[in-house]
Symmetry: C2
């Protein structure tokens, strides 16, 4: 075992680069002309449009470095960025990663982190082309991903119109369940909730498919269904009504949280599923003609940014959004 304080930055980068070389399947069509080892990476022309997103994960805020499996952390810190690329209907093309490192962190831990990156790159494509390593009293990982599409527009938040239905991919709430078990020191590695919390699957292929088939409006569910739907409503100047009984929920979530699985599904956060809107006929066509796990959960209405909830009987349900707001303390 080697502490980062016992190795030069050059050697550290070389070791991390070696992890990628040994674990990432080479891309024969790569347009990366210069990657790690120069001041900046060089990328040949992307396709028609490119998108960029950046998200950081910080020790004691998003994870606890002494407890987290670094391979999971690598996966998740890149996956949450990939999810943003997916929400635009784009494919990931390249990423850069900045690590803020305490000197007591082990090189082997960072190699595991890069294995997590590798796992994701192998499954969803794109290349990690560089980054920066700095010393920091607080361990952090800052990731930037550039994606592209050959379409003339990406999915966005501002294009929802009254009459659209609202749909989500996958089932919601299981990442939140994982967090609850984690906070009670009761999260088993083999459980579905562990995977939902630590290894979220960015919906890259679904996003590309949805844009390709004509969906204009999308966001990823990182802050909870209600919070992210509110962002669509605000950007599009519309209202939304969600049918709580139609929200897809995993059987294990119902079994483990029979009293509040609905609340967890609408406001839990970190699901990284896609939330889209579109004509009901189009969404049903996509659902019928692809294997996509797509569920209609509500509709867009005339309004100015509000989200309402009903149940199957049509009765209005009062809901609180929960969700994240990192700075407001009261």
């Amino acid at each position: 075992m080697t502490k980062v304080s016992e190795i030069s930055e050059f050697d550290l980068i070389a070791r991390l680069e070696a992890v990628l070389e040994q674990n990432v399947t080479p891309n024969a069509e790569s347009k990366i002309q210069v990657a790690i080892g120069d001041d900046a990476a060089v990328i040949g022309n992307l396709d028609n449009l490119q998108v960029v997103t950046t998200d950081a994960m910080v020790d004691k805020v998003h994870f606890v470095s002494n407890e987290v499996d670094m391979r999971n952390l690598g996966w998740k810190s890149l996956a949450v960025n990939y999810s943003d690329i997916a929400s635009m209907g784009c494919k990931p093309v390249y990423s850069v990663v900045t690590l803020g490192l305490r000197t007591d962190i082990l090189v082997e831990q960072l190699e595991n982190l890069y294995l997590g990156f590798s796992d994701l790159l192998n499954l969803y494509g794109g290349e990690l082309v560089g980054g920066d390593i700095v010393k920091s009293d607080t361990f952090f990982i800052s990731v930037t991903v550039v994606g592209s599409t050959d379409k003339s527009e990406t999915m966005q938040r501002k294009t929802a119109v009254p009459g659209d239905v609202i749909a989500v991919t996958g089932a919601l709430g299981c990442s939140n369940a994982g967090l609850k078990f984690l906070l009670n020191n009761n999260l088993e590695k083999s459980s579905h909730f562990y995977e939902a919390h630590y290894l979220p699957k960015p919906r890259i292929y679904e996003g590309i498919n949805l844009l390709d088939m004509g969906i204009k409006t999308g966001i990823d569910i990182s802050d909870g269904l209600l919070n992210d739907l509110k962002k669509i409503c605000a950007a599009s100047s519309v209202n939304a009504t969600i049918n709580l009984d139609s929200i897809p929920v995993h059987e294990e979530l119902k079994l483990s949280f029979p009293d509040n699985f609905r609340e967890m599904a609408v406001s839990g956060g970190e699901d990284y599923e896609l939330l889209i809107t579109g004509h009901e006929s189009l969404i049903k066509y996509i659902s019928d003609s692809t294997k996509m796990d797509l569920h209609i959960v509500g509709e867009i209405e005339i309004g100015s940014g509000n989200v309402n909830a009903v149940d199957n009987s049509g009765a209005q349900i009062s809901i609180t959004t929960g969700g994240w707001d990192h700075f407001t303390e009261n």
Copy 2:
């Protein structure tokens, strides 16, 4: 005054976005189709090649948050990335910024930070299209910049060949002088050294010009002339000899440090000038035909990565590189 803990993240981003709106001259030819306010920015096709670089600045490592002028910090944290884009001969196109924030940091401080970004964007172009704000026990700023060129290649490190001469833009060592005064609590705001240390000028226009006129090999001087020249020598498998008497040094540096201005100029670091190699005739032609402040300081020779130093008499000089290595403690 408002602490970040007293304002929502949404409001904070809106305030920071407002600083940009109010301070950055709009670019009529902007290809940015979606900027702040969606999951990811959308950028129209760039030119022939694009480059990406990322560099972070961390409290207590690169600056001291209680002492630094945040507007200077904004300038510098973006400028060091722009310098990497300049070293490739590219123009900056777009940037994203991640802030890791302690809750006691003031919104007004961050607005000043963004004023520093604005100053640089106005002078050197490019757009700040998004980012992320996270809570962190350690304040940090992580910046990613994407640049482009319509040339078929960028400047690189690996293209130096024996017979090339070595040249630098500008004068060296003044940023290091600024740091020395700063560490002695003796750095005056009006001094040349203050500006050299806090407000380095990325050589964007020089870099574009140099690539345009046929220079193949370049790097920016962030770790000191000798250290960065070593990187060129290692990447190109060549040796280099520097004439210490030919290194451009500011008169004030000679006056303030008569005994060690040469050492500061070759190993001080953070000058953010460009270090290039090329045919002597080409470099003299560029120097004569442009207003660029370009100085020949040595030559490239057959070898395997070593850098030597001589004085005007041709006598070999023993030099230590100093420079940065963030993690090795002994």
